[in-house]
Structure formats: C-alpha cells, structure tokens
Symmetry: D2
Subunit: 346 residues, 4 copies
Amino acid sequence: MSITVAVSGASGYAGGEALRLLSGHPEVEIGAVTAHSQAGERLGVLQPHLHTLADRVLEPTTADVLAGHDVVFLALPHGASGPIAAELAERSPDTVVIDAGADHRLESAATWAQYYGTEHAGTWPYGLPELPGQRGRLAGARRIAVPGCYPTATLLALTPGFGAGLLQPRDVVIVAASGTSGAGKALKPHLLGSEVMGSMSPYGVGGGHRHTPEIEQGLAWAAGEDVQVSFTPTLAPMPRGILATATARLTDDADPAAVRAAWETAYADEPFVRLLPEGQWPTTAAVIASNHVQVQLAVDERAGRVVVVSAIDNLCKGTAGGAVQSMNIALGLPEQAGLESQGVAP
Amino acid sequence: MSITVAVSGASGYAGGEALRLLSGHPEVEIGAVTAHSQAGERLGVLQPHLHTLADRVLEPTTADVLAGHDVVFLALPHGASGPIAAELAERSPDTVVIDAGADHRLESAATWAQYYGTEHAGTWPYGLPELPGQRGRLAGARRIAVPGCYPTATLLALTPGFGAGLLQPRDVVIVAASGTSGAGKALKPHLLGSEVMGSMSPYGVGGGHRHTPEIEQGLAWAAGEDVQVSFTPTLAPMPRGILATATARLTDDADPAAVRAAWETAYADEPFVRLLPEGQWPTTAAVIASNHVQVQLAVDERAGRVVVVSAIDNLCKGTAGGAVQSMNIALGLPEQAGLESQGVAP
Amino acid sequence: MSITVAVSGASGYAGGEALRLLSGHPEVEIGAVTAHSQAGERLGVLQPHLHTLADRVLEPTTADVLAGHDVVFLALPHGASGPIAAELAERSPDTVVIDAGADHRLESAATWAQYYGTEHAGTWPYGLPELPGQRGRLAGARRIAVPGCYPTATLLALTPGFGAGLLQPRDVVIVAASGTSGAGKALKPHLLGSEVMGSMSPYGVGGGHRHTPEIEQGLAWAAGEDVQVSFTPTLAPMPRGILATATARLTDDADPAAVRAAWETAYADEPFVRLLPEGQWPTTAAVIASNHVQVQLAVDERAGRVVVVSAIDNLCKGTAGGAVQSMNIALGLPEQAGLESQGVAP
Amino acid sequence: MSITVAVSGASGYAGGEALRLLSGHPEVEIGAVTAHSQAGERLGVLQPHLHTLADRVLEPTTADVLAGHDVVFLALPHGASGPIAAELAERSPDTVVIDAGADHRLESAATWAQYYGTEHAGTWPYGLPELPGQRGRLAGARRIAVPGCYPTATLLALTPGFGAGLLQPRDVVIVAASGTSGAGKALKPHLLGSEVMGSMSPYGVGGGHRHTPEIEQGLAWAAGEDVQVSFTPTLAPMPRGILATATARLTDDADPAAVRAAWETAYADEPFVRLLPEGQWPTTAAVIASNHVQVQLAVDERAGRVVVVSAIDNLCKGTAGGAVQSMNIALGLPEQAGLESQGVAP
C-alpha cells in the first residue's frame, strides 16, 4: 500500500527535485502537485525533465488540495509554510508535513525575527539525521524542518570535530560556493545565464546570510556551547552543487593525529556521508543528483587549524533528498528508499 | 536470480555510465569491472560519483576476466571489440555481448574499411529498438551493436518521415551539437576545460565523421532506398547531451498537414521517445541522465522542408542507456528496467 | 578634435559593448549614455566591467539628450529606433545615426510588416562592409543599419559562393548556435543561468526567426536572384559567440577545385575576415571580444554540397564592433580604429 | 622608437596573454616568440585568438633567440627561468627580464627549497606596484618577479588592513576560486572540460599550495611582522578569473568605523584597484581581460572579523597584465600603457 505524497511549490527547483526523487521511490504514490502563480499549467511545460509526469496539471497551493495525503512536502518561500501548516494541522491532522523552507528550523524566535523579520512559526524536528541523536528525534515525527543547503554542507563538515571537542568555538570560517539553483527560479538580473556563466561573486558577506544562525545553532548542538562563524557564500557558474570549505582552530590540547579519527568514527556507518580516502578531495560533480556527501579534511599544523571540505548537491541532499531521507525515517521506511542512485557525472 | 554483468572500459565515460545504470537495475548484479592502463586502480578514484562501487578494483580487460558472466558490456576504443568478442565466443559461448563501440554497427565491410581503415569485425543486431521491426530482431539476440550517439539522435529524428515516404533522400542536412563527454576522456588539448568552456567548434566537417555512414545506413533502412546526408557535428560547452537539428526536403506529394501525424504514430507507444506538444522544443537539459528522448518538428512550407530537432543524453540513451534497453529486450526483461529515472535538471 | 558619440540603450548588452569599444577608440569622446527604465542609475552598477566609466550617470533616451552629438548609437528594442531617428533628423540633422536594432535593415516594407508586425521605418545603408560594393555605399553615409548578428555570421559564410555563382539558391540550410547575450538582458525564465548552463535548445524553428528574411535579402544581393534558406538558431551555454554552419548545394557546373578560391579571393584583403588555413576550423573562443571573423569550408563531393562554418562574437562583429567599423567608414576614419584588439582566450 | 619584447612560453596561456596585451601596447614591437616542444609551429594554430600574429612561427626558447631584445618575458615552468636568466645576464646584459614564473619571488632560499625542492635562483624586485613603496623599487629595475595570481588577489585584498595595523597576524583565512587557465595547458584528466564544467573542487588544502609562502611574505611586509595564513584554493568552472575571500580578525583596538577608511586611502589613487561603492560586490566577470581589480569589504562585528573579497583576471592582472604594468614602471613608460581596455562582459 503506497504512501501518498503531495508536493507544493512544484513549479520551482526544490519542488521539481522532490518530484524527481519521489517518482522513483518504491513506496510512494505522487498525489497533488501544486503551485501558486503557475497553477493550471502542465508539469511537462515547467519541468520538462519529469518525463513520466508531463501530463500532470498543477493545482493551487491550498490546504483543501493538500489535505488527505499521507505526506505533504512544502517547498515554498519562507513565511509561507507556517500558515498552511497550521491550516493542515486542523484539517488533516494525520498528514506528515515536511517543510523544505526555513520557517521551522530555528529554535530561537528572537533570532528568527532578526534574520527574517516576521513572526516565528515554531520549531520542528531538524531533518539532518547524521547529527548525533537526531535519527531518534525524527523517528515517528509528524513535522520535519528540512535544513538549509549551506547548513547541511557545513554541519556535516564540522560537527564531528565539535562533537569530539577538538575545535575552538570562536574562530570558525566558512566559505562556500553554490550552484545557481540555490537561488531558485526568481527572475533577477544577476541570475541570468549571461551574467553567471564564467563568473563568481559573493553575497550576504559579513554575517548577513540567513543561513548563518542556522549553522551556528547546529554547531552549538554539537559543541555544547555557543559557536560563532564567519560565513561567506559565493555564487558559482554551475547549476547545482555546494562546495563548502570550513576551517576552525584546533583546541590547545587536540592531538593532530587524533583529528582524522573523529570524522572516521562519525561517518563509519552513515549511508550517505563518506570521508574520502586520504589524498582524495571532494568535487561537486561526484555528488550531483545523488543524496551522497563527500568529506575530506587536512590538518594545517603550521596554522593550528583543520580545514574540512564537503560537497553536496544543494537540491538533493541539500533539500529534497534530505527531505526524503527524513521522511523515510519518520515513517519507518528504509532510510535509503528512493535515494539509492549514484551521482551523475561527467 | 540476478543476471551478472561485466563492464569493460569501466574507467571511461561510457563504462562509467553503464555502471551507474546497472547499479540501479533491479535484475542485475555487477560482476567484473575492467580497464586497460588503469587496471589495479580503485573505481572510487576514477569514477567518484559511483559511490556504492567505490571499493571495486579494476581488473584487466581480458577474455579470462570477462568469461562466465551472463552479459558483457564492451566500452572499448573501436577496433578493440572485435578480437575480444571473438575470444569470448569461444571461451564463454553463452555470454551475451553488447558492444558499445563501433565495430559491429555497419553492414558494409567496404564502408567500414573506408571510414575506420581496419578489417571489418562483422555485423550484429542494431540496438535501436525504436526502428521499425527492430525489437523483434533484438529479442533473444546474443550479440548487440549499440548505435553511435549521433546516429541515435538523428535516426530517431528522421526515420518516421522516411518510413512514411514523406522525405526526399538526397537533400538531408544534419547539424548536431554534442557535449564534450562524447569525445571521451582522451587527453587532447582541445578538450581541456579552458578551451571548451564558452566555445563552440565544428569537427569532421564535409562528410568525414565516422557516424555519417551509420546515419545513412539507418535512414536507408527506413526509406527503402539510399539516403545521402550532409552531417556536421559540433562540440558544445556542456558535459553531456546532443541536440540534433535535422532537415530534409518534403516529397512533392507530401501533404504538410500529414507530416506531424507520421511522427505521432511512430512514437505513440514508445516508452522513451516523446514528440513534444506543439510549440514546445527539446532542450538537452530535460534529458540529462535519463534514457528519454525529446522530439519536435516544424514544417517550413516556404522552404518545402521539415526541420526536426531531437535531444538525447549522449552517454545514456546515446550509449549506455540504449545498451541497457537493448539488453533488457534481448533477455526478455521489462524494457524499462533500470531506466525509469527522470532527467536531472536544472 | 574628437568625435562625440552618444550611446542609447547603454544599460543593455549591445550598448555596453558599444561603450567598451568606443572607450578605446582613439578618435572618439563618449558623450551622453542613455537608458529607459534605468535612467538615473550609475553605469558602474549596471556595467561593472566598464571601469573607467563607472561614475557616469544614465540619462533618459530622448532626442533632447541625444541631439548635438556627432554620432548617435541606437541600441534599442525593435520599433523604438524609427521614431527617435525621425526626431533626431529634425532636431540634429548633422548627427550620424547608427541603428543597432532591426528597424532599418529590410528593404521590403511588406516583409517587415510580416515579421515585425509594425509599420516599416525605412531602409538605411546596410553596415556589412565586406559585402561586394558595400564599402562605397557606407562612405559618407549619415544613416547606417547595423546587420543582425546571425545575418552577419551567415552572410560572411555564404556570400563568396553566391557571388561566384557556385551555389544553388533553393537548397540553403543554416544552423547556428548563439551565446545567451544574443537574447539580451530580458528577465525570461529560459534565460536563467540554471536553465542555460549545460543545455542547448532551438528556437524560431521552421522559418519563424526574424533574421531569416534579412539573411535571404543579403544572399539575394550576392546571388542576383532570390535565395531561400532554412534557418534554425539554437541557444548555447556560453555568454558570447555565434557558430554558424551553413551549407548549400553546388551548381551543376561548379568545379569543386575552384570553390575554395572564391572564398580566398573574397577575403584576401579583408582586415577582419580570415579564411583559415585548410584543416583548421573556427572556434567561437578565438573571436570573443574581437571584431575578427573566422571562416572555413569543406566541399562534400559525395553530397554535392559545400559546408561553410563561420565564428563571430555576436556582440562585437555581430553588433557593436560592426557598428564601429561602419561608423569609421562613414566618417572617413581608418576602418580598424578602435577595433584592433585580439580575441580574448581562453 | 619601439621597445622590442620577446615572449618565451608563447604556446601557453600566460605567454598568449602577454602577446595579446603587448600587441596592443603603443610603445612595443613584438620580437621573438618562443616555445619548447611546440617550436616550429605557427602561432595561428596554437593561439588562434591572436589574429594579427597568426603567421608568426615559434622559435626555440634559447638565450640565443632571446638575446638582443630590450625586454624578455619568461612564461616558463618553475625552475626554468633561473638558468635562462643567468645566461641572458651574460649574453645580453642590457635586456630587462620579467619572470612570470615563481623562481625569483621568494626572499627565503629555505622556503623556496621547502616548497619547490630545487635550488633558489635568487630574489628579484616584486612586481606588485600597489604594495607600499613598491613603485619606487620597480622604477629602473632590470629584473622583475611577477607575483603569483593568488598572491596578487590576496595581497591586494589584505595589505591595506595590515598596513594600517588593523588586523591580527595569526588568524587569517583565505579561500579563493580560480578559473582553469590558472592550471595552464597541462594535459591532466581533472582539467578536461567534461570534468570541470559544472564542478568545483579544492586542491593544495592544508597549507600545501606553493603560493602560501608568497602570500605570507607579502602580508609580512605590510604587517611588519610574521603573518600566518590558512589558504585554500579551489578550481571553478570558468576559464579565467579569481575570486578571493580573505578574512582576518580585527585587532582589539581597531575601530570598526575606521576600517573602511584604510582601504579607501590605500586605493584612492591606484589606477587599477577600485574599492567598490558600499553594497556592491566584486564579480570576476567584471574584470575579465582587464588589468582592473575590484575590492569590497564588510566588517562582521559579531565575529570580530573583516571579510575582504577581491576579483582579478588571473591571466591579466594576475600574470601578464601585472607584468606589463611593472615593465612600464621599470622603463619609465606611462603605467597604464597597453592596459587601458575595459573588462569584457558578459
């Protein structure tokens, strides 16, 4: 008996990726697919790569349409998930709701207000199963907040070190490059192909990016104390992929020889995260279209720092893939169901 | 009970794509993976996107290693398939051999000699199931010649018109753009990233490309007479994908209104080829990493021509995907087994 | 004493390229730079690569602002050049007007109406000096219609053959790939970086592209009779450049050995067009940011056709560079003034 | 009376860029162009974008060929400049030698030996005129060591802060993305277009990159004390450009409000370096093919750090453009001669 899943925001990149993955999920039947301004259009026009769904027609994103499904994916602009989730809670209380947006990620209402400027919608279990203890919190959950793409890449890079007490919490620098799909399908001049091809540029420099508090929240969980990061995202000339370069100062009593062991231990049994053999470094090409994560690290003894690099597909493990993984855990399905494909390269 | 499949040429792009698809095939167990100069290396180093096969070690490409498998994929340079196939025929007569190289595609030994300059290895059933009557020839076949990538895109574009007697055989012009993976992993200066990014260039102009006689052979099958094409391939700044623009003059008695119907009829029941709704044109992005093909056409009444555009993934439907599809037919498996994934976009 | 040049449409790609070239022109002083909705903005924000013009403020595109300059460049949407040119003729009769838009390219008012749907603004001397006899028509001209980018690439590819009577006028097929800047800065979903990177797609298939009649007009000039083309443009994943593949059937009495000589003769003394040595083919990378054109051809004796490939920079020789070249001729300046730079590669 | 300049390594990217710039330099006549394995080949084949030099034939790179020129550019692999410079000193003592390679950049022979493993060839004046006092050292110099591309981007980002005593010398983190031309024309698998398009990857992580000591040397000059950096370079899917994200901790008594003033002062009169208006961030697209540098910074008060981002063209300001600029200073020419072109965008 299939699980019915509705996908809202199905005209966008996150919604499209959710549909791509869910259409290959052995336990899932895709229910309603909804959009806002594109309601009424055929999916074949908006997502021509979803060949077997080409004749599906987008319905409007309303609680009416979404109610009654076993699972609802919300891939909406921030601020939009809160209200519709509240309505669903009332009309369709058994529906599991998975929010790929930002609304339910942060614990602190004050931080939410500072970075997003609206009222906090609440905090849901955080859908990053690789964090210590997190799988237990996701099992049976009826509400899941899917992590942001940069936080996914960054937390997977650094939490083993903080968890093992190897890293100082005040000197963390992260520079990450993201493919353009991370910015969505918004019609902005700087996202035109003519502008992005052959160019790199930073944005949200100096602490302004909204993923900064989410990264600090996750690192603090691992460190057991506040962590402060300098985070600079950059836009890279590729459609998908995040390469995160994260560096932190080692604690005074950290044994450099023991550093690698912390990451090895953390990811020894993880199905999707792999510490590469020494000498091999992540490339975003290797993870495109897959839920896999590549991690590698180097201890810079001269500088007293560890440098960790992680690569993810921002739309897959960084959004829709992570969402499906958490859904699987919440529903008691095999964690890898629907996520078993390799990367696509070259 | 699984079918064991060995993949030779596993260090290259075609071999890598075969492994990507076969690792998701429900009936297949991957056996030996072999290479030439890279034998002894781990797959995780050469094909880092094949996450679950990372620890496989490449064996040498010998009949010894390949013998005993239910199926052997040959993804070798042209000229190399013939000898190893002959050896396999002797040592492992029950093995189904699928040649992704050129050696067994052409019927004419003279044409082979003219274009490839070596002795002809023979002619095997041609692995393009969408050609009229071809599925029947592939069912139960023990030897399959996988079509070239350009012929796949081109024959799917034009055969419905020739089959319906709508096109003149002496005025066919094809210009196709291919991603760089079509040229393989060869270390040639013009394939460096610095050279190809932001650039387009032609090659094999004037009839010299080795896929020309293969295109003409396939069109002649459909037309029932000799067909002569002007074929110009170009190298495009993308890793994957072929966009073929094929145009032919309509016969004098062709009813322009009937043209579209020929393609509609030809592809009405094809699982992988889709004539798009009128007004929507193929993009290579829509077919990347999938076995699907997009086709669209326009009648240019002024010029008395039909222009057909097709998009395929050169490594998937154009090589490894087409190979798996033909393997499925040969073995009596569901034709879509292992090939059900959508495209990956953006 | 400098020539003062005003540039309208300075916020767009064609206007930006005009400013790039004119700022390096030894005889030119840049006067007003104007825009429509972006008037009031600094050029440094909209065209950050024009370093020495960063503090220039865009003025509105009005005859008032443009009047009084020695030369006015119009880089406006089609339909907009006609009215402002008419106003300028009255208020600033001595000003030379160079229209980079389509309004004044076509001789036939009926064809204009059919393809553009508005009233024909008139016909100006056609700014492609390499056409036979064209330099004489441009010398002293006060009005110049800059050719479209596809017509520039195509006419330079084929006119030598038509001029020499070697090509049949009814069997001309052109497939051209253009970088995305050819589509301008318009905020359309299919022009987003996420969509165009890694993808190729056709548009205007079947004779619908507005450059078709302009190509036919130019070829007819050379052939001395009507020429009919099948023209298919495609969008390529690169910011700049056009690669045109043009093929035509040889006349029955054409001596294949004489074909190459026609192109050699036509371009022997051209400063910007070069027939490459035999065996070397054009790449768009070689002409980026330069006014140079690369041409190569092959006779396909089997198919009885010649295949000519040309590469230009659509913004430079295809728009602003061609405009400067024609301006130089019109004003009696050295034809290469301001256009002497090499291509930029890799 | 022209200055004759010979260019060695003319088959490579740095040599090609030197020729591109020098062919537009009003005071320069290009003399011998030399190469190693490609000697005897025409430049038109190897550098097809250098249209006006297409018929030049490459000579072998020997002191014999290079002697007698006013200036010799060395664009050779590291280790090769030392011997040929020594020979030139003897045979052509008046020739100014400009080394675009690494051989003469480092002051410390021990550091050279540690990072390059060969004997130190000596230390020449460092060709980064924007460093405090450096123009004076370059005026009249007969030997110039052109800085590395990453050090150029990084030192221009950070030296104003160290010069003003605002930055702590022990907590400097730099992550930089470079286009593939920075890796040269070497035929390595990871530089193939199929591999780099759509992918980002790090290299030399953990302090191993050879530009690390050069960056630390330059920052120490500005700081007046040792500076230690964590430097991670990444390879980006674009042919040209470096985007450097550099961050350092502010000194305890630094007034955040005074930080911006340090950079404003440093670059107020620099012809090629521009601190962008607040709110506008560098893009590599804006500096391609130009000698210009864009810089922007943000103070992250929460983290107590400044984040500075700079963008250069690695081949132009980062190699050949910086070389021409230093040559101009050394010879008493206008510093901007031959370097006045804008960037090329889009």
